[in-house]
């Protein structure tokens, strides 16, 4: 971090934290993140309610990144809403939308510790503490996310729709496939099934949109935080249940139906303990078909970034070759 950014950040935190002085002792840029930058920061705060050492993450839009209007402001609002609803997330501290400070919007959140990598989590039983408790805890966390309901002035940037969220997704996926150079009749088969079996618009809530193993962090005791809020939207809460339990997000540990880390019953019990009503098992199955469809369309889009020459990447290229097994799973789940 250069001196200009460092002193600008120190001044900003001093004002936001009502401190006498702030010194940034350490700052390290984390890898990854084409759109935003993440800085691990240790700030020494003198005076005020936050006096002491603060371990934080500073999330910015990347200077060269695509222009995402209010990107960080939206994410900050989502974290605030989740934190307020009792969801375990990195505590959002301060947002700066003034581009004069470091040249781009950013926010500061409390740093959390742990491991998120899905393939590590499903193999290393020492992580995440007692696994039945972890599955139950994740269910409870998800139900807290779903307790956030529209209308919400602070989350007004996300559109609401009157139609069935399931049918809304079917229309969106078909539109993408129609514009794509390679037709996928097996996905069309799945979409027709999803259309014919679509649940009506029922509960309508904040959907995390990417709630799965790999997107929450654990240490050896248990959950430390739910991450990756960029796909959050208003929709059917069952979408998150299906995404979490879908076979394609079990990282090979297919027998542990709750995200490859636990039993479905434990996850459901945790969810029901907070939502206060029984979870519809049959609908969960529907949304697992939807999850495979969603992932298949995303995989095609990611591969296309490579194929079109926009971003040459072996990872993106290989993601295109996950599509066949997703198609296979969709066919298997829609036999009748």
């Amino acid at each position: 971090m250069n001196d200009t950014m460092r002193s600008a950040l120190e001044r900003f935190v001093a004002t936001a934290a009502r401190a006498n002085a702030v010194a940034i002792a350490e700052a390290k840029l984390l890898s990854g993140g084409a759109i935003q930058e993440n800085w691990l920061v240790r700030a020494e705060i003198s005076g005020g309610p936050h006096a002491g050492v603060l371990d934080a993450v500073v999330r910015t839009d990347s200077p060269s990144g695509v222009a995402v209007s209010h990107g960080r402001a939206q994410e900050f609002a989502l974290l605030k809403a989740a934190f307020g609803a009792g969801v375990t997330v990195p505590e959002p501290l301060w947002l700066c939308e003034d581009r004069e400070v470091i040249g781009r919007p950013f926010f500061v959140m409390r740093r959390i510790a742990g491991t998120a990598a899905g393939h590590v989590l499903v193999k290393d039983e020492r992580l995440g503490g007692d696994r039945a408790k972890l599955a139950e805890r994740l269910g409870a966390e998800l139900a807290r996310i779903h307790s956030i309901r529209p209308p919400r002035a602070d989350l007004g940037f996300m559109p609401t729709h009157d139609e069935s969220p399931a049918l809304h997704s079917v229309v969106r996926f078909r539109a993408y496939l129609d514009a794509h150079h390679t037709p996928h009749p097996a996905l069309e088969w799945g979409l027709r099934w999803l259309e014919r079996h679509a649940p009506a618009r029922g509960d309508y809530a904040l959907v995390h949109g990417d709630f799965r193993t790999g997107n929450y962090m654990v240490d050896e005791h248990g959950l430390t935080g739910v991450l990756d809020w960029e796909f959050a939207h208003w929709g059917d809460p069952m979408e998150d249940i299906g995404w979490f339990c879908a076979r394609c997000w079990r990282f090979g540990a297919v027998a542990r139906e709750a995200g490859g880390i636990g039993a479905r019953d434990d996850f459901y019990r945790g969810y029901e303990s907070v939502s206060g009503k029984p979870l519809d098992r049959e609908q969960a199955r529907y949304w697992e078909v939807m999850a495979h469809m969603n992932w298949a369309v995303i995989a095609i889009q990611q591969a296309e970034r490579h194929v079109s020459g926009e971003e040459t990447s072996l990872l993106l290229a290989l993601t295109g070759h996950i599509v066949p097994e997703l198609e296979y799973e969709i066919l298997t789940m829609t036999e009748n």
């Binding site: 150079h181 996928h184 009749p185 088969w189 979409l191 027709r192 290989l318 066949p324 198609e327």
Partner: protein, 133 residues
């Protein structure tokens, strides 16, 4: 006439060197990239081995299902890929319109899709089919 080994055999041999000699010697943060390369070589080798017999069979099956020929030519005309795209686009429209919801057409479309997707998975990730069986 090309000299041996074939491209497919070269990929298999290259992959064995990667797997047996290189990956064990790599630092942990480079292993994932090397495993991705090994996977890419495997997929390419399986596609080379399968040739275009599978896609030709797929096109013939589509012509039967849709009762319509989709011409392919080696020179000026549409390629096998173009013909398959046209035929699969039409099958997609049929499915979307509900023509494969019931009856004999439903069963034959379903059997066709099962065949085609099995063939695709056999190239992209044959272990997936093994695990399910």
């Amino acid at each position: 006439m090309r000299d041996q080994p074939t491209g497919e055999e070269l990929l298999d041999t290259a992959r064995a060197v990667l797997r047996d000699d290189l990956i064990p010697a790599l630092p942990a943060d480079k292993r994932h990239a090397a495993l991705m390369i090994a996977n890419a070589l495997s997929i390419a080798a399986r596609q080379l081995k399968a040739g275009d017999a599978g896609e030709r069979a797929e096109l013939a099956a589509l012509e039967g299902l849709l009762s319509e020929p989709f011409a392919t030519h080696t020179d000026d005309g549409p390629s096998l890929r173009d013909a398959l795209a046209a035929a699969n686009r039409k099958l997609s429209q049929w499915i979307r319109a509900g023509r494969a919801d019931h009856g004999a057409l439903r069963d034959s479309v379903r059997a066709h899709l099962d065949d085609v997707i099995r063939r695709k998975v056999a190239e992209s990730n044959p272990k997936y089919l093994g695990a399910k069986a």
